[in-house]
Point group: C2
Chain length 96, copies 2
DNA sequence: TAAAGTAGTTTATAATATAAACCAAATTTC
DNA sequence: GAAATTTGGTTTATATTATAAACTACTTTA
């Protein structure tokens, strides 16, 4: 009847991060913070969880002298996102 | 960019309950438990939250000698569900 | 009448989300 | 050029949430 909703994606902020990353090649921390409206602390934690799940890659480098964290979605991440969306259908029907 | 997801509906079990109730006139506790696969304890708690939010009505009566709890979605509940679905769109795009 | 089942509720615990507090380096202001 | 502010984050403390386990109250069956 109802498909299970991947709890790692069933989180407002993590879902927003994935939503941004699925449509771009990569995005840095500041961009993600701006797009999601999240606090830096919350974003930092959620990025970490997505990375540990293998859904995104996180690279830390420098742009000039300032630190810069760049994130990108993995194939596994794309697959998980698509599966999550498919599972949602079982709750909200075709109405969406 | 991203619309807020009503936290009362952004819960796997509560969403499932609402999803059942939106398509029937009413449903009793046992039916909801069967459809959602939830434990009785969890279902009891989540039904309570939905009722307190005004999204469903809960009537307690008897079927023969056995207690029976009947739930139905309210207009407010329907509106909240539809708004939640609309908000989801901002996260999952046209993909769904 | 004892055991098992039904229909739930209450409560304890673990997991989660979130913001506040913090840190280090860079930049600006006085 | 020292102090204050900003940038780009991380760590940690707290409040909320989800969940199952334990329990209640009653009914049915053996």
């Amino acid at each position: 009847m109802f498909k299970e909703l991947n709890p790692l994606l069933h989180s407002e902020l993590r879902l927003a991060v994935m939503s941004v990353l699925i449509s771009v090649e990569s995005a840095d921390f500041v961009f993600l913070r701006e797009q999601t409206g999240a606090t830096a602390g919350n974003l930092s934690v959620q990025i970490d969880k997505l990375q540990k799940a293998g859904y995104i890659t996180v690279e830390k480098g420098f742009k000039g002298k300032m630190p810069r964290t760049t994130c990108a979605i993995t194939q596994e991440g794309v697959a998980a996102f698509e599966e999550y969306v498919a599972a949602l259908r079982s709750y909200i029907g075709k109405g969406i």
